[in-house]
Amino acid sequence: MDKLSLKGYISRRAFDSGFLLIITVIFNFVLFRIMPGNPALAVLGRTGQVRPEFRQVLQERYGTNLPIFDQFIIYIQRLLEGDLGVSFYYYPTEVSELIFGHRLLNTILLMGISILLSFVLAIIFGTIAASKFKSKTDLVSIFVTLTSYSTPVFWLGMLIIFYFFGQFHLIPLSGSPRIEDPKYADIFAWAIDYGYHLIGPVTTLTISFVGAWFLIARDQMLGIFLEDYITTARAKGLKERRVLFTHARKNAMLPMISVLAMAMTYLVSGATLTETVFSWDGLGLLTFDAVTYSDYPLLQGLFLLVAAVAIVSSFIADIIYAYLDPRIRY
């Protein structure tokens, strides 16, 4: 009976997520139509003159001369074919080519490593601080993490560049090495240089993420320590390790799953500020450019990707929730 209700729960969640995705796709279309001006004019206005081949491509691609409903049908049709359109700024490069190339890899690597590192550090430090509630360790770590949490990330990045590049020469200034670069003899040479360039931005992001997550993890653990079932587990004379890691952890993990699910959108949206400071050629920097140059098709593609990742990751989080907590069967 339990298995069945779990299946029902997952399929309900899947249905919800699918519905949400459709709404997002529609919203993503509408959002740019109700913006002041229109994309074609924005491009044409910027260049100051009408380039006939450009207008032709625009009309072909978007059917800007067609009624809005027909435009929507075309948009959906193209989307189903995996066609996100052509970028205005990087014309005639396809949006999908711009997003799903080295930039996506750069961002996923940068954000993935930073998120994972911050998450693990936050849980470890949070658990330690909670188990030493109100001790010096606890108070010092709260002070440090609150400071790191409230430090503006671009300023932190600049400080790191100033000291670790400028003063101590420990890290490179900026940039993200590309594997196509002929200066790399083989993939390992590239990987080493890539890792070297990652240090600065990863450190910056980790410092800024860890602060908030540490506080959540600590708070969560503190609450769990006061629970009656922890007292029971201790009364049973179980090993302290089992009390902490079997009885407490599973409960304390629940809110952290939400935190992680929300962080998943960073994985593809990137960190615009950090990527800009370190000239890291990722999706954050691409978004920044797309906004600067009113590159609507590109923005539309980026938005859709971020929204899709948000929906999928919260769907996965819901399933993990159901697995971790048997009480959850909406």
Binding site: Y229, T232, A233, A235, K236, G237, T246, N251, D325, P326
Partner: protein, 328 residues
């Protein structure tokens, strides 16, 4: 020959707060015989739970046992190392907590939580040992009257009464000699309460289990306990077998406590509350701690602490200078 199972001698547990020292349990002595139930009664905050937690050595960080000995089957629990005590827990003595509803971890099955303690205490991490443990879980479910097919259920799938039965099953999982039950039926309605009390009595006679039964409900004690201990403000004021204490209670507090409970069968009369409030244990009154509320109090009571001495029989102890005197 009745064997003494638990002997608590001159136990004092104090809480060390920032600016004060709360004498929550002060110089308490009592014994529990094998296969018998001692009911511990008293107002909220009189030190019942602190006494129990001292025996389990599970006091909160501010609480310290400053004096005393606790012999379980002749071994002083207070002399055990932390690790020895951890091993003794649940195998020698187990505990049923006040909060039946939250005693189980919500994300683990009930059976899992019983099996884990059997596996830990029997040291049977092997496959066959685990199988054996699960078999025992099933048996324990049968003993407490739960359907053994429900061992894989989660706590939220149980009703309150079922949870309390499961907790008793868990407490009995490793055949302890002593069970400390801290208000085990307070959260239950009277019908379930009666069933649980009956279950405890059955288990006790089948397993020769000593029970320390903590409650503030005298009727529960009258129904299910062999001996009674009355506590007041961290002190033991009267200990004896149930009928002696209920019918020939000698300490004025005991008698006033009994009078403050309504009787269903007795004549219809107004219940008499004990006026006043229990003293602040950070700053207890000198002499007998009950003297500010006691109608029999004299000069002596205000100055000297009354000794805890045998009264009518060798098993009946009272701490009062005026034990047995009539209250007007």
């Amino acid at each position: 020959m009745i064997m003494v199972l638990l002997e608590v001698k001159n136990l004092s547990t104090h809480f060390f707060l920032k600016e004060s020292r709360v004498r929550a349990v002060d110089d308490v002595c009592f014994t529990i015989d094998q296969g018998k139930t001692l009911g511990v009664a008293g107002e909220s905050g009189c030190g019942k739970t602190t006494t129990a937690l001292s025996i389990m050595r599970m006091l909160p960080p501010a609480g310290k046992i400053v004096n005393g000995e606790i012999f379980l089957d002749g071994v002083d629990l207070l002399k055990k190392s932390k690790e020895e005590m951890r091993k003794a827990k649940w195998k020698e003595l187990s505990y049923v907590f006040q909060y039946a509803m939250n005693a189980f971890n919500p994300v683990m099955t009930v059976g899992e939580q019983i099996a884990e303690v059997i596996i830990e205490k029997e040291n049977s991490k092997s496959k066959s040992g685990k199988k054996e443990a699960w078999k025992k879980v099933k048996e324990s479910f049968e003993i407490v009257g739960l359907d053994p097919d429900r061992i894989k259920n989660y706590p939220h799938e149980f009703s309150g009464g079922m949870k309390q039965r499961a907790i008793i099953a868990m407490a009995m999982a490793c055949d302890p000699k002593l069970l400390i039950a801290d208000e085990p039926v307070t959260a239950l309605d009277v019908i379930v309460e009666k069933k649980i009390l009956k279950l405890l009595n059955e288990i006790q006679s089948n397993y020769n289990l000593g029970i320390m039964f903590i409650t503030h409900d005298l009727s529960v004690i009258a129904e299910s306990c062999d001996d009674v201990a009355i506590m007041y403000a961290g002190k033991m004021v009267e200990v004896g077998d149930a009928s002696t204490v209920f019918h020939k209670g000698a300490h004025p507090y005991t008698r006033m406590l009994i009078r403050s409970f309504p009787s269903i069968l007795g004549e219809c009369k107004r219940i008499e509350p004990i006026s006043g409030i229990p003293p602040d244990l950070a700053n207890p009154p000198p002499g007998c701690r009950f003297h500010p509320r006691c109608p029999l109090a004299t000069k002596e009571c205000r100055k000297d602490i009354p000794p805890f001495e045998p009264f009518s029989t060798s098993r009946h102890h009272v701490a009062c200078f005026h034990a047995g005197e009539t209250i007007l």
